[in-house]
């Protein structure tokens, strides 16, 4: 973007703008585009979800406004804007007003590091992944503000639940990502995507594999377990069923949003759906190769790249379109799964949610980190690090050994953990009684 703006300002119009002006303008342009993309995603996702879940329930879903109900979200948005804005008399007015903003803003920031296609990352940060999750944790503050400022018991309960849930599910999410970061050795989202070229097995680890853009992390045991754990944690972070406890309408009305109306409520709604989109997107990025897919790398290689400055710009566009298509397809597929889960399951209780996160997911992801270490050891380390014994196996052999080992470890961990967890859940009545009442059983 910088290059384009620079070209237009200084070459075409010969304005002689300073570097920082160019940067400012180019960043503002990118930001504007992203700020437009986010609400559009939200509008589309609400429509998509309502139609999908209706189909799962043998219904039709909204189909009145526009062709096939396309403009239903627009109509809803208009309704939101025109609704009366109510501030409870006892509320803390400023905090009540600021809370939705604090919730929405971080979700917009998070778009900054999302790779839409080859060379189409708004900002390629070295620590993009960390940035993504650091920023997402800010919205917890907003929820807390909303819950406290509303001066309503349901809101406060909802906010407490939301924040407790977000904070505790951040740990398994980070631990499952740690396994991936250990393998790639980079926190940059661009690097992680680049790493997932190749074919089912990881291209950058094994030489001589064609780069078809299918070397996604989900295809190896470490990545798969990390994916499963991360997706569950993402459901909890995005407050999706079965973890939609903070806004459990059958228990605490609408949680922290109870006292909000009109567009302030709309902002919470926006934040939530944009966050869901982002969580689906980041799942696609980290475990399913984002824009990676057959054809993208080949097309991109023909375009203008740092390695190949003489390429044809149209190939960049083609690669970008194809990459964005793959990326959005994967993202919406994950959202489909979210909706599917919402269509099938009841929700957990608060204490069960905490139990599941702390007593099951975290140990499992810890085991996965261990597996990742084995994977890295077998695939990347040499005699210096003490893995000389593995050298005679050759690249493919080392990969095979790592695959089998980690698979065995992960399956064993899953079974053992599930059994232990299942046993603890099923405490017999007598034990429970003896435990709680302090009686000789």
């Amino acid at each position: 973007m910088y290059d384009v703006v620079d070209y237009v300002l200084n070459t075409t119009f010969n304005l002689g703008a300073a570097g920082w002006v160019v940067s400012l303008i180019s960043y503002l342009m990118i930001a504007t585009v992203l700020f437009l993309v986010a609400p559009l995603q939200m509008l589309f996702l609400t429509y998509y979800e309502r139609r999908l879940i209706a189909r799962m329930q043998d219904r039709v879903g909204p189909n009145r406004v526009g062709p096939e109900g396309m403009f239903q979200p627009v109509a809803d948005a208009v309704k939101m804007f025109t609704k009366e804005d109510i501030i409870p008399a006892a509320a803390d007015k400023w905090v009540h007003l600021l809370a939705p903003l604090v919730v929405v803003a971080p979700t917009m920031f998070m778009f900054a590091v999302l790779p839409w296609g080859p060379g189409m990352t708004p900002i390629d940060m070295h620590i993009g992944l960390l940035f993504f999750f650091a920023v997402s944790s800010i919205s917890a503050v907003g929820l807390m503000m909303a819950g406290w400022a509303s001066y309503n018991k349901f809101s406060l309960l909802g906010a407490m639940r939301a924040v407790a849930q977000m904070v505790s599910y951040e740990i398994p999410a980070m631990l499952s990502l740690l396994a991936i970061v250990m393998i790639t050795g980079s926190l940059s989202i661009v690097d992680i995507v680049q790493w997932q070229g190749g074919l089912f097995i990881s291209s950058s680890d094994v030489a001589g594999v064609p780069n078809w853009g299918l070397g996604w992390f989900v295809f190896n045991p470490v990545g798969f377990l990390a994916f499963a754990a991360f997706f569950i944690a993402a459901l909890a972070e995005g407050e999706r069923t079965p973890f939609d406890i903070p806004e459990a309408d059958s228990e605490i009305v609408a949680g922290y949003m109870t006292e909000y109306s009109g567009m302030k409520f709309g902002l919470f709604f926006l934040a939530q759906y944009v966050l869901n989109f982002l969580l689906c997107a980041i799942t696609a990025v980290i475990f399913f190769g984002a824009w990676q897919g057959p054809g993208v790398n080949e097309l991109y290689a023909l375009g203008i790249t740092p390695d190949n400055p003489d390429g044809n710009g149209w190939f960049n566009v083609l690669a970008g379109v194809l990459g964005a298509f793959y990326f959005l397809f994967k993202t919406y597929a994950f959202f489909f799964v979210m909706v599917w889960i919402r269509g099938a399951f009841p929700r957990l209780r608060v204490d069960q949610l905490m139990d599941f996160g702390w007593k099951y997911l975290i140990p499992l992801t810890l085991v996965n980190v261990f597996s990742a270490a084995i994977w890295v050891g077998f695939n990347n380390w040499g005699a210096n690090e003490g893995f000389g014994f593995a050298e005679p196996l050759g690249d493919l052999g080392r990969w095979a050994v790592a695959f089998v080992l980690t698979l065995a470890i992960n399956i064993a961990a899953y079974i053992v953990m599930t059994r232990i967890y299942g046993e603890t859940r099923r405490v017999t009545f007598d034990e429970q009684l003896a435990d709680t009442a302090g009686l000789p059983s």
């Binding site: 905090v95 406290w148 009545f429």
Partner: protein, 217 residues
């Protein structure tokens, strides 16, 4: 570029200082915690301006995302947050100010004196040995497991001890807490009591089932 950075720096500095003042100046503790979060955020942005991306992100993750949440949680569990009717300043406030300034000076003076202020910003290509790529994370990691391994371990152990302590306190608290028996538990309890003490059997059988029993130690 320089100008832009300077403008941003002054804005951020104003935010940090202003928010810091507000933390101590407002009555409502929740508001003061929220100002604190704003201050943390400004510091994070300042790190970003210094191109210390990792540090900035960690600042946001740890301080804004976790520490401030803990503070908010703790505050919300207290009774009176409005701070109405409490005085912000007490009589010998100047003494407190003096102590604070002295301590701050004691910390800052050696730093100021020891620092050579004529650092030339690195120009030209980055040398191979220079940190690249991961912006400090790699060095930090290396530092933790090489030179500062002992410190790191000690800090870890300390945190572990704190964790265990917290758990112990929480467990004690749980035991002390009133246990609300469910209907089935209560019923089972009554039945067992009947079995154990024959003398009182008929008496407790007559008592109404809906009567709540609270068990405390």
């Amino acid at each position: 570029m320089e100008l832009l950075i300077q403008i941003i720096f002054f804005l951020l500095a104003a935010l940090i200082l202003g928010a810091g003042v507000m933390v101590v100046a407002v009555r409502n503790i929740i508001h003061s915690a929220l100002w604190l979060i704003g201050s943390f955020f400004g510091v994070g942005a300042l790190y970003l301006l210094l191109e210390a991306e990792f540090l900035a992100v960690v600042q946001v993750l740890v301080y804004v995302g976790a520490v401030s949440i803990l503070i908010l949680f703790a505050i919300m569990l207290t009774r009176d947050v409005s701070g109405q009717g409490e005085r912000l300043l007490f009589q010998r406030w100047w003494l407190a100010l003096l102590v604070a300034i002295t301590l701050f000076a004691a910390v800052i003076t050696p730093t100021l004196l020891a620092q050579s202020w004529n650092v030339v910003p690195p120009t030209g290509p980055i040398e191979p040995g220079q940190p690249t790529g991961i912006a400090g994370a790699l060095e930090l990691g290396r530092g933790f497991v090489h030179e500062f391994l002992l410190h790191f371990e000690i800090a870890g152990v300390l945190l572990l001890v704190a964790l265990i302590g917290a758990i112990v306190i929480a467990f004690e608290e749980r035991n002390r807490r009133r246990k609300v028996l469910t209907l089935a538990e209560e019923h089972e309890l009554r039945k067992r009591r009947e079995q154990t003490s024959d003398a009182n059997a008929s008496e407790s059988a007559l008592s109404a089932p809906g009567h709540p029993i609270s068990q405390s130690e």
